[in-house]
C-alpha cells in the first residue's frame, strides 16, 4: 500500500517504545527486560548490533539524546544511561530515581544534558549529570500529581515539561535546573515570567487517562490524546480544541507533522491524520485503512438504510460464519500493524514538515508511514 514506506518484523513480543538517533542510523526498541539496538539500512531488515540487558523487569521506555546517549527506564524502578563507546558497546550508568513504583516513560530534553522520567509513584524525576560527584542526580516534581504519569514531553527550550497521566490532567511544569539552564532559554516565553523548578505552569482537566502529550514548540501549542478517543490541542491562552477518533477507539500516541497537522494512532492499528481548517481540527486522512471495512456493507438488513445500524449485525454474521465453516471470516482485511500502535515518532523531515513517521506496536513490528 502506498501509505507504507517500509515495515519490519523485529521481535516476537510487544514493543512499548522506540527511538532513532539523530541521523537515523541507529534504532533502539524496548523488548521485554532488554533494550535492543539496531543498525538501520535504507530498505533492508535492521541488523541487531547490541542488547542492553541490565534491567530485571519490563523496560517501559527508551530515548536517545542528541549526543547519542541512550536512556532506558523500567518497571524495576530504575533508569539507566548508556554511553556509547568507540568499539560499539555501551557503558551503563544506573540512575537512582528514588521512586517506589515502576518508571513508565522517559524523555531527553533537547539540550541532551538532562532527562525526565515519569512513574507510577506519582512523581516526575528530572535527572541531570553532576560533574563533581560523577553521578546522575534526580530531582522530584510531586505536586499536584495524583496518579501515574503516562507521557512526558519537553519544550524545545528545555525548561517547560508537559505531562499527562491517569488522573485525567494534562499539566505543564517547569524543569528548570539551576546551574544547567539559563534564564535566556525562557526569556519572553508566553507561558509566564518565572519558572522555579517544579512549579506548575498550567493544567487542563481532561477527565480520561491521557496516553500521550506532545509539544509543538514553534507555535507554543500542546496536543494530547486521551482514553476517551479524543485529540485535544491547547495553548497558553487555554483555548481548547478537541477532535474525535473516527472509529471511536482511543489513540496511544501522536506526532506533530507541521503547525497545522497531527498524526495520531492507537487501538485501531492504523494512524489517522488530523488537520486544522477553518472549522477547527478535523480528520483529513486515514492511513493504511483496511480496504473492506467501510466499502462493503456488512449485511443488508433490508429496511435499514442508515449506515450505523449495521454494526450490531456484523457480530451476528461473524458467528454465523464461524458456525458454518468452523473459522473466522477471511474477508477481514488487516492493516499493516496487527495490534495496537504504542508509539509514533518523526522519521524524515523536509522544510519543517514531517514526511515519514515511524511506529511500533504490540505486534513487534516497526512500520514507517509515508505521508
Amino acid at each position: 500500500m502506498s501509505d507504507i514506506a517500509a515495515q519490519f518484523k523485529l521481535v516476537k513480543g510487544p514493543i512499548y517504545s522506540h527511538c532513532f538517533n539523530q541521523d537515523r542510523s541507529l534504532l533502539a526498541i524496548t523488548y521485554d527486560t532488554d533494550c535492543y539496538v539496531y543498525k538501520v539500512f535504507a530498505s533492508k531488515q535492521p541488523q541487531l548490533v547490541a542488547v542492553l540487558p541490565d534491567h530485571d523487569k519490563t523496560v517501559t521506555a527508551v530515548d536517545i539524546s542528541v549526543h547519542g546517549r541512550i536512556v532506558t527506564c523500567s518497571q524495576d524502578r530504575n533508569a539507566i544511561v548508556w554511553e556509547p563507546l568507540s568499539n560499539g558497546t555501551y557503558k551503563p550508568t544506573l540512575v537512582l530515581l528514588r521512586i517506589n513504583r515502576a518508571a513508565t516513560t522517559v524523555s531527553w530534553a533537547s539540550t541532551g544534558y538532562k532527562f525526565a522520567v515519569g512513574s507510577s509513584a506519582r512523581i516526575i524525576a528530572v535527572c541531570y549529570y553532576e560533574q563533581d560527584n560523577d553521578w546522575w542526580v534526580s530531582k522530584h516534581i510531586k505536586k499536584p500529581i495524583k496518579s501515574t504519569i503516562n507521557a512526558l514531553s519537553w519544550h524545545s527550550n528545555s525548561v517547560l515539561l508537559a505531562c499527562g497521566g491517569t488522573d485525567g490532567y494534562a499539566r505543564v511544569f517547569s524543569g528548570f535546573i539551576k546551574g544547567l539552564d539559563t534564564k535566556e532559554q525562557v526569556a519572553g516565553s508566553p507561558w509566564g515570567e518565572k519558572f522555579p523548578f517544579g512549579s506548575l505552569v498550567r493544567e487542563w482537566y481532561q477527565g480520561a487517562w491521557i496516553h500521550d502529550i506532545q509539544w509543538r514548540s514553534s507555535i507554543d501549542r500542546v496536543a494530547f490524546v486521551a482514553h476517551d478517543g479524543s485529540l485535544t490541542i491547547t495553548d497558553y491562552t487555554d483555548d481548547i480544541i478537541t477532535a474525535d477518533s473516527p472509529e471511536g477507539l482511543p489513540f496511544n500516541s501522536l506526532c506533530w507533522i507541521n503547525d497545522h497537522e497531527i498524526l495520531a494512532a492507537g487501538f485501531s492499528n492504523h494512524p489517522v491524520l488530523f488537520s486544522e481548517g477553518s472549522k477547527g481540527w478535523e480528520v483529513s486522512k486515514i492511513l493504511d485503512r483496511p480496504p473492506k471495512a467501510n466499502e462493503k456493507p456488512l449485511l443488508s438488513t433490508g429496511n435499514d438504510d442508515e449506515e450505523g445500524t449495521n454494526f450490531g449485525m456484523s457480530a451476528l454474521r461473524k458467528f454465523k460464519e464461524l458456525d458454518l465453516k468452523g473459522k473466522v471470516s477471511q474477508q477481514e482485511e488487516k492493516s499493516t500493524h496487527e495490534n495496537s500502535i504504542t508509539e509514533l515518532a518523526p522519521y524524515a523531515e523536509s522544510n519543517n514538515n514531517i514526511t515519514q513517521v515511524s511506529s511500533v506496536a504490540l505486534d513487534g513490528k516497526l512500520v514507517i508511514y509515508q505521508l
Binding site: G207, H227, G229, T309
Partner: protein, 153 residues
C-alpha cells in the same frame, strides 16, 4: 518467589496519599444544591408541559447539572426522563440530529443513568430507542466518551 505484587507498599510510606474517588472528580468551584438548580428544573417543566420537546432536549444537553449534588441531580433526572419518554418515536432522530458533540455526550449520560434506576427502567424501551438513534447519528463515540468521563449527571 515471594509474591511481591501483593505487598502493600503504601503502608511503608507515610507520605503516600492514596488516590481517592474525590481526587478524580472534576474541580468544580461550587457544588449546586437542589435549591439553586430549581430554576432550571422549572424551565424544563414548562417546556415539557407546552410540548416543546426539541427546546427541552436542547436545554438538558447544553447545560447538564454536572456540578450539582446528588439530590439535585436525581430531581433533574426525573424531569429529563419525563421529556425523553414523551417524545414520539418518529421525532427522536430529528431532535438528535440538531445536537452537537458535547450535547450527544450529555444525552447518553442521561440514557445510561435512566436505565440504571427503576423509574427509567419502566420506560426502558423508549430509552433504548433514543440510544439506537443516537448511535446511528454519532457512532460509538459518545459511548467511548461516557466510559471514561467523570462528569456525571
Amino acid at each position: 518467589m515471594e509474591d511481591w505484587r501483593r505487598i502493600d507498599i503504601d503502608a511503608y510510606d507515610p507520605e503516600s496519599g492514596r488516590l481517592t474517588v474525590d481526587d478524580l472528580k472534576p474541580p468544580y468551584p461550587h457544588i449546586l444544591t437542589l435549591q439553586e438548580l430549581q430554576p432550571a428544573i422549572q424551565q424544563l417543566r414548562s417546556y415539557t408541559s407546552s410540548g416543546d420537546f426539541s427546546a427541552a432536549v436542547q436545554l438538558i444537553t447544553s447545560e447538564p447539572p454536572y456540578d450539582a449534588d446528588e439530590q439535585a441531580k436525581s430531581q433533574y433526572l426525573t424531569g429529563v426522563l419525563e421529556v425523553l419518554t414523551q417524545v414520539r418515536q418518529a421525532d427522536i432522530a430529528n431532535i438528535i440530529k440538531q445536537l452537537d458533540r458535547k450535547q450527544q455526550d450529555a444525552l447518553i449520560k442521561y440514557l445510561y443513568k435512566g436505565m440504571s434506576i427503576p423509574e427509567g427502567q419502566k420506560h426502558g424501551g423508549i430509552l433504548l430507542a433514543w440510544f439506537e438513534k443516537l448511535t446511528q447519528v454519532a457512532g460509538v463515540n459518545p459511548i467511548v466518551h461516557y466510559l471514561s468521563d467523570r462528569r456525571t449527571v
